[in-house]
């Protein structure tokens, strides 16, 4: 059993000798200085730590690095620069979906994960898609508007 753990994060391959049990969230924030994913609760409830692993939305505070070896992990930093991110960013801006911003990286990941599965979601689909991302500032509706807007503007991207 090798003690080296190999991870694929934002299209980079990273090897580490850290414990298999280390939380992915801590590895991202402490070891790699990737601070988009946030610690909002540490118990998988708020979604502020959400990342995408093998195209699925995952709460990084609830996975060990050992359990995600060899999987494709994307954080908001990895999504930045893509056409999809560009559309999401513009729509979040126009729809007024960002206030304090703490939930925003998680919301962006949730939006991207949702649109990747359902490129033309209904409002209910969007509410479901972000149902695990808590927001205290916006009351959610403007975020939902942003994602619906992005699905129309980003036609063909997802």
């Amino acid at each position: 059993m090798s003690n080296t753990i190999t991870l694929k994060i934002n299209n980079k391959t990273i090897a580490t000798e850290e414990s298999s049990a280390k939380r992915l969230l801590d590895f991202l924030r402490e070891d790699l200085d990737i601070t988009g994913p946030k610690e909002g609760c540490g118990e998988g409830e708020c979604g502020a730590c959400a990342v995408i692993i093998d195209k699925e939305l995952i709460n990084s505070c609830l996975v060990t690095i050992g359990s995600v070896q060899g999987k494709e992990i994307i954080t908001v930093e990895g999504l930045k620069g893509t056409k999809q991110f560009g559309v999401l960013e513009r729509c979040f801006a126009e729809a007024g979906a960002v206030q304090c911003g703490f939930c925003t990286p998680g919301m962006i990941m949730a939006a991207h994960a949702l649109l990747s599965k359902i490129p033309r979601p209904t409002e209910d689909d969007v509410r479901n898609g972000i149902s695990g991302n808590l927001c205290r500032c916006t009351g959610y509706n403007m975020i939902i508007n942003a994602i619906l807007m992005a699905s129309k503007r980003g036609d063909g991207l997802w």
Partner: protein, 702 residues
């Protein structure tokens, strides 16, 4: 040129979306020490001894005796210790900090520290408390006469519970000590409050303390006074260790032990004459202040000032006290006493209506305050009161009255209901605080290049000040808001423009910025560096007297009408919100989208306050719902789109006519929700939150 209200892209949008915005937990400080708090396990006790194990090199314990200045947190009454190592008054009270480079070791030390308590008898129920932090009373007209003349008396009591701010970013500060100077960085609403607390705790000169706000992930009042405690703690710790000290609360800690909304007991007694006209109202309010005073006296003031809501009642007596209990100190939360009282008056009026055979709106309409009327405390509603126009709009968008009638008579397992609340919120700091304590000052710094920087201490915590302040200055100077600089305030660089509280930032500080910008425009010199300073000028009001509780408590008011529609499953008592309609008068919006955000966010927080955010104490003084799993805030699936209309009502006290808006939007949802449940089931709600447990009992007992 575009009107100022036209929406723009927020100035801090990019960094928040791409994850590059740095909140305090994202920032690495070199050689920093982790700090963890040892907290009281008793609700009331004297600390006899604290056994501290031997500490490795580089590890510290920071206690009361390490506080060089005054071991008291500077908030109004100065009763709360920075480190409570003599006596404790609530479970969770901070006793000391353990510092060190390795977090695991710090926690291990913490677990090895033993505290010897001599327990006292705690008081948990506010009804049992014999100690008040503050009390006030005021009258209007002749209440005793009204009591004599009254033919009917309608009396009832309401209870409103705790509410936790549940900002997504927990509280946290980093203190640093270098070259005889202490700096504190972190998430906060009021850098100068923190500075005052740090100066008092350290006994330093003002220029030896620097406070810097970092990008703040939500506040809602929860970061108004609490950071003063944390700030004093990390400052003392950094001073002792001579290294950066990082004190970031985890969610369970934050949820259980930081300040919350005051629970309230509201007794309403209404006096009616032989024609069933309301001739008097007698109100008695108790607020649960928890173990220490914090900002309770001002919360109480506002609660009393809102006690009669939007109604003009000829004879009133309103009294209240905020009492001490051995529970977590309660503090500021958006609304600040308003939500409690507005629930009380709105629900009471609905119950009076029911008793007299009217719909709530039919009764309430008869007593609406009008422009020019006296306020409850002998002030005046100087500026236009547009309630009738707002009511018309509310009916238009929600079809309220027709639905109210229809739903009252429906039967069936699924019951629809619709409810309305009408409310106000005084803009700005209560009373004469602005003139006597805050004395706000702003500066505009124009660089030689022509670039302008706003120097003010108000903080963006999501409500968009980094954008709206820039818009105000830009508009006054005919410039582009993107060419104006406004950074997170650093007390070394910015004057004290007052705290970011009380819905004052736009109206009061924004006005100063507008005036400063206009003066700069008038005195503009190309190629020269210029600084324009603008100081607060108190408007011409009926002077506020706190002892008599008399005068203009607020310079102006913002108004709201909320309609909430529900559907109740009578098998389970689970209630779904099916519609929310709002009408607000906030003067004019500085930015339409940002204002929409305040409405959507505030209304949903109010909905949580009214429906699912239940927080209670157990028999030994511990909070039962102390995790984000158990303290229930709405998710995206629990809310519906809000249909909103603004009624313009520009007020010259604010920039471009804007009034206060930050808190108003939270105040009305809960009473509207309660009213909807009453409409659906024909029951009388007397408490918040209106949980399914309460509704089920009401259904069964019917």
């Amino acid at each position: 040129m575009d009107s100022i209200r036209k929406s723009v892209i927020k100035a801090d949008h990019k960094i928040k979306v791409d994850g590059s915005a740095k909140y305090i937990a994202d920032i690495k400080f070199k050689n920093s020490l982790y700090a963890k708090t040892l907290r009281s396990e008793k609700s009331k006790a004297v600390i006899k001894r604290i056994f501290i194990p031997e500490l490795k090199d580089g590890y510290y314990v920071v206690e009361g005796k390490d506080v060089p200045g005054l071991n008291k947190v500077k908030i109004i009454q100065n009763d709360m210790p920075v480190f409570s190592d003599k006596e404790v008054n609530y479970i969770g009270e901070p006793i000391l900090l353990v510092l060190g480079p390795d977090l695991e070791e710090v926690i291990s030390i913490l677990n090895d520290i033993k505290v010897e308590y001599e327990e006292g008898t705690p008081v948990f129920d506010m009804r049992d408390s014999t100690e008040s932090f503050d009390k006030y009373e005021y009258e209007k007209g002749n209440i005793k006469d009204a009591i004599k003349k009254s033919i009917k008396v309608i009396e009832e009591e309401f209870y409103t519970g705790y509410q936790e701010q549940a900002y997504l970013e927990t509280q946290g500060l980093v203190g640093d000590y270098e070259d005889d100077k202490v700096s504190v960085y972190g998430t906060m609403q009021c850098p100068y409050y923190v500075k005052g607390a740090v100066v008092q705790a350290l006994g330093f000169e003002e220029d030896k303390v620097r406070i810097v706000q970092t990008t703040t992930g939500g506040g809602f009042g929860g970061k108004e006074d609490y950071p003063s405690l944390l700030g004093a703690q990390v400052a003392v710790a950094a001073y002792k260790a001579k290294k950066p000290v990082r004190l970031i609360l985890d969610r369970a800690e934050d949820m259980a032990f930081t300040t919350k909304r005051h629970p309230a007991l509201l007794k309403y007694k209404t006096l009616l004459n032989e024609n069933n006209k309301i001739i008097g109202m007698d109100v008695d309010i108790i607020l649960n202040g928890g173990a220490y005073a914090t900002v309770s006296s001002v919360v109480l003031q506002r609660a009393l000032l809102c006690a009669i809501g939007v109604y003009n009642i000829p004879n009133i007596r309103v009294k209240g006290r905020v009492v001490k209990t051995n529970t977590v100190p309660t503090g500021a939360f958006r609304g600040f006493g308003g939500p409690q009282s507005i629930f009380g008056i709105e629900t009471h009026m609905a119950h009076i209506a029911k008793e007299l055979g009217f719909t709530p709106l039919e009764l309430k309409n008869k007593y609406f305050v009008k422009t020019g009327d006296d306020t409850c405390t002998g002030g005046k509603f100087t500026y236009d009161v547009k309630l009738e126009e707002m009511l018309e709009k509310a009916e238009e968008i929600s079809d309220f009255s027709r639905k109210y009638k229809k739903y009252s008579s429906e039967q069936g397992i699924m019951r629809k209901g619709i409810g309305m609340s009408i409310f106000l919120h005084g803009c700005g700091f209560t009373g004469s605080g602005e003139r006597d304590f805050i004395k706000a000052k702003v500066k505009l710094l124009k660089y030689e290049s022509g670039v302008i920087e706003i120097l003010a201490s108000n903080t963006d915590m999501g409500q968009g000040l980094q954008t709206t302040f820039k818009k105000i200055v830009a508009k006054a100077l005919d410039k582009n808001y993107q060419d104006i600089i406004y950074e997170n305030p650093d007390t070394d660089r910015v004057p004290d423009s007052g705290p970011t509280v009380a819905s004052r930032s736009i109206m009061v500080v924004g006005k100063l910025l507008e005036r400063a910008a206009l003066r700069l425009k008038e005195n503009w010199v190309d190629g020269k560096e210029q600084i324009i300073e603008e100081n607060y000028k108190h408007p011409d009001l009926i002077p506020w007297n706190i002892t008599k509780f008399n005068g203009d408590a607020y310079p102006s008011y913002s108004w709201g009408i909320n309609v909430v529609e529900v559907e109740i499953n009578t098998v389970t008592a689970v209630t779904e919100v099916t519609g929310i309609y709002t009408v607000f008068d906030i003067g004019i919006p500085i930015d339409e989208t940002i204002m929409e955000g305040q409405i959507q966010g505030g209304v949903i927080q109010g909905l949580g306050y009214g429906s699912c955010e239940n927080m209670e104490y157990d028999k030994v003084g511990k909070v039962r719902q102390h995790s984000i799993t158990d303290y229930i805030i709405p998710t995206a699936k629990d809310v519906v789109n809000i249909k909103n209309e603004l009624v313009d009502n520009p007020c010259d006290l604010g920039p471009f006519g804007a009034k206060g808006a930050g808190e108003l939007t939270l105040v009305g949802t809960a009473p509207a929700y309660a009213n909807a449940i009453e409409n659906a089931l024909g029951v009388k709600v007397n408490r918040l939150p209106v949980t399914p447990e309460w509704i089920m009992e009401a259904i069964v007992n019917e």
